[in-house]
């Protein structure tokens, strides 16, 4: 079944902002065979009926999931299968292998050789060419969906229908229809959905969140995210062929928008200005948002030579900023000094907080030298993200990046794409005359 899911995405001519077809195909997932195969799992019950789960058979009564997962040492390891053996799968495999109480038991990919190589590298017994095969053969408790963005929803639903929880690479899905289908399936099958918004686990961003939690800047009113990065070049990828310029938002957008959504909630209204700055493709997105709890801005520049990742938060009582590249968090609060001194005093305070933040970051890197990876920023984020998911799963709680947040980020990305689409279609001839360089600002409301 997994193979058929992938085959359903037909390549189409390049469209920068493809318009929605009036009758988009319904997202239908054939789940009956899987449900028949594992009736108890399909209904959200933990009792295992076969396969290699001998340790699970020691349960003599049917337990609801939150009980099944409680007690770190009392219960057997969670069995994890990876769907997709591409680049990111290696990091998932490494992270899963490093987590306590979690066991990597299978890798599936339409390219059987890739699946086998990854499985062998990490000493995993099972490699498969489809999700259905992996579910039948390995019976995972959790499936990581590591396919291209527009191939997440269907296998996620399949896995949930088969009784597995899912951990999905960002973005959770790529359309409103998929959002609703995933949400409905999660409720219907009673499964947990986590999304890998790994940058929300960046230690610097977490420190920024702590500053906000400490109430030092009061209510968050506005968030600006700068995401100017060397990576994210999707212009030659199948995703670009299928989704046009929207591929930028689907591939790279979830990173900055996951930060923004965490701080001020889902985007309700968006305005976009998309331009071709360094490439002959829309590589630069300037976005303005009205969100649930404030306003936001986002700059996305991909395939740049210099990295600038920064989150600036304006609160009612101060400003906090996280420089994710340099690893600093700075804070400027309502002053306690008189008008004569406050500029000097507050600048000195800012300088001190910057120096102290840099020193703390350096000390943390030095501390990591013995274990290796002292300069690795990506690994800790992934370990934080995946680790938090399994921690929540074991505690019977919703993951930090929950289905709700995953949906909010996806919908926010879709509104940004829609804003860019609207600008192009509404401006007609004027826009067409300048479309080589600019699509003008318009809005798209929820």
């Amino acid at each position: 079944m997994g193979a058929s899911v992938r085959a359903s995405h037909r390549r189409s001519p390049v469209q920068l902002f493809p318009r929605k077809s009036k009758q988009s195909p319904k997202l239908i997932v054939q789940t009956s065979s899987l449900a028949q195969m594992r009736p108890n799992q399909a209904s959200g019950v933990a009792l295992r009926t076969g396969g290699t789960t001998s340790r699970m058979r020691t349960h003599h009564k049917v337990l609801p999931q939150h009980e099944r997962l409680s007690g770190h040492n009392a219960l057997p390891s969670l069995r994890v299968g990876l769907l997709g053996a591409g680049g990111i799968a290696t990091t998932h495999a490494m992270t899963v292998k490093s987590l306590p109480g979690v066991e990597l038991i299978g890798v599936a990919d339409v390219d059987g050789n890739k699946a086998r190589r990854l499985a062998e590298r990490f000493g995993v017994g099972g490699s498969y060419t489809s999700l259905a095969e992996m579910i039948a053969g390995a019976r995972p408790d959790v499936v990581h969906i590591l396919l291209p963005p527009d191939m997440h929803a269907r296998p996620a639903i399949e896995a949930m229908a088969a009784g597995a929880d899912v951990f999905v690479e960002k973005p959770l899905c790529v359309s409103e229809e998929e959002c609703r289908a995933v949400e409905e399936s999660a409720h219907r099958f009673g499964r947990i959905v986590g999304v890998n918004h790994n940058v929300t686990f960046d230690p610097t961003f977490l420190r920024l969140v702590e500053v906000i939690r400490s109430r030092r800047i009061g209510k968050v009113q506005h968030v600006a995210v700068y995401w100017s990065v060397p990576f994210g070049d999707v212009f030659g990828a199948p995703l670009f062929a299928r989704h046009g310029a929207g591929a930028v938002m689907l591939e790279t957008g979830p990173h900055p928008l996951s930060l923004l959504v965490r701080l001020i909630g889902e985007v309700r209204t968006a305005a976009a200005l998309v331009t071709e700055e360094l490439r002959t493709a829309p590589d630069t997105w300037q976005l303005a948002f009205a969100c649930e709890r404030g306003t936001g801005q986002c700059f996305i520049g991909i395939a740049r030579s210099f990295t600038e990742i920064r989150v600036r938060v304006i609160g009612e009582d101060g400003v906090a900023e996280a420089d994710l590249r340099l690893g600093n968090v700075t804070l400027v609060e309502n002053t306690r000094s008189s008008p004569l001194f406050f500029k000097l005093a507050d600048t000195l305070t800012l300088a001190r907080s910057l120096a102290s933040s840099a020193a703390r970051g350096f000390a943390e890197r030095v501390r990591r030298i013995p274990g290796g990876g002292a300069t690795d920023d990506f690994g800790p984020m992934m370990r934080g993200s995946i680790g938090a998911f399994y921690e929540a799963l074991r505690a019977g709680q919703q993951p930090k990046v929950s289905l709700r947040e995953g949906l909010a980020v996806t919908r926010s990305c879709l509104r940004a794409i829609e804003a860019a689409n609207v600008s192009r279609t509404r401006n007609g001839a004027t826009a067409m005359a300048t479309e080589e360089t600019t699509w003008q600002t318009q809005t798209a409301s929820s």
């Binding site: 969140v209 906000i212 939690r213 400490s214 109430r215 030092r216 800047i217 009061g218 209510k219 968050v220 701080l263 909630g265 649930e292 709890r293 009612e316 009582d317 101060g318 609060e333 309502n334 002053t335 306690r336 000094s337 008189s338 008008p339 406050f342």
Partner: protein, 334 residues
């Protein structure tokens, strides 16, 4: 009420005035309001006027039984204070005497006291004996009180004077200027450590005392201090405000000596430059800002039957919660 009182509230559009007017209307009074700018209000008669203009006061006092003088003004020179507070109070008193009005209720301020010494201060302790060392505002209020008391003594002016403490509640703001100097919306600079209980009083309780004074017997010529029974310090106030608003309210304590040294340097600097906006702020004034004395309000309770809110939660709800905005359930601060 067979013959409802007709009352004039001068300054009825202000912070205390609005609450007072509401309570008077609840009691069935016919309410007239005099303010510098004419406005509209349901159930009240509005008069445009100024206490510095005796004619406008007289015009507003037609048929009035009781006059409340809550007038407030600030200025840039001592003459402005003299005119607004002292001459203004005398103008109102003169009209009250002329018209034979039953009672004049005048609101002064605890700034007229000297709250530097430890211990309790009652109405009998009188106002600050050294008004010449106080701020223009305090000095003007002291002079106005003196003038009204003299008129009561000499000509039988039926005046009752109130000295409300730090009045809090709806209509004011969380960063209340009576607590200290707010260098920013959440940081309050105070003289001393900010641990002294502050003479706070709810605006509704002040209005209640003023209403009670309208009909109280044998209180002409009396002065009443008004502070509630719940008296948080500046530090406690900021801690409670922080907890309830989820903002970072904080106190910046300052040594009185350091403040006075700084003020002296500024004063000398301005003197050397020949600046005209140079006002000497005395050590005597600074000591008052420590607010170390405990304000005794038993006279108002005994003679007027005044009962300010004594329940701490109720007080905080009315003093602080009224300024808060609801938080979004997903707010990261929750």
């Amino acid at each position: 009420m067979a013959n409802p009182d007709c009352v004039l509230v001068i300054g009825g559009s202000g912070f205390i005035g609005r609450v007072l007017v509401a309570q008077l209307l609840e009691r069935g009074c016919e309410v007239h309001i005099m303010s510098r700018q004419k406005r509209r209000g349901d159930g009240v008669t509005w008069h445009e006027g100024d206490v510095t203009d005796r004619q406008s006061v007289a015009a507003a006092c037609d048929g009035v039984d009781v006059v409340y003088d809550l007038s407030m003004a600030f200025g840039e020179r001592w003459d402005d204070y003299l005119k607004s507070f002292v001459q203004g109070a005398e103008n109102v008193a003169a009209v009250v005497l002329e018209r034979g009005i039953r009672r004049l209720v005048y609101t002064s301020t605890i700034a007229g006291l000297h709250l530097a010494r430890l211990g309790s201060i009652t109405e009998g302790d009188g106002h600050d004996p050294k008004p010449e060392l106080r701020s223009w505002y305090a000095r003007a209020k002291i002079m106005a009180e003196k003038s009204l008391n003299r008129l009561h003594h000499d000509r039988g002016l039926p005046v009752v004077i109130f000295r409300p403490g730090i009045v809090v509640g709806t209509g004011n703001k969380l960063a209340h200027p009576g607590i200290g100097v707010w260098t920013s919306p959440t940081c309050c600079s105070v003289v001393g450590r900010g641990r002294t209980p502050l003479p706070m009083v709810l605006v509704e309780d002040v209005a209640q005392a003023l209403v009670l004074a309208k009909d109280a017997l044998n209180v002409d010529g009396r002065t009443f201090n008004l502070a509630g029974d719940v008296r948080p310090s500046a530090v406690e106030y900021c801690e409670i405000a922080s907890e309830r608003s989820k903002r970072n309210f904080r106190v910046a304590p300052s040594s009185p000596l350091a403040i006075q040294a700084f003020r002296t340097v500024v004063y000398l600097g301005k003197l050397a430059l020949g600046r005209k906006d140079n006002v000497w702020q005395s050590w005597h004034e600074l000591k008052h800002e420590l607010l170390r004395s405990s304000l005794d309000c038993s006279a108002a309770k005994e003679l007027l039957g005044w009962h300010p809110v004594a329940d701490r939660d109720e007080f905080l709800r009315r003093a602080i919660d009224c300024h808060l905005r609801p938080l979004h359930p997903d707010d990261l601060r929750l």
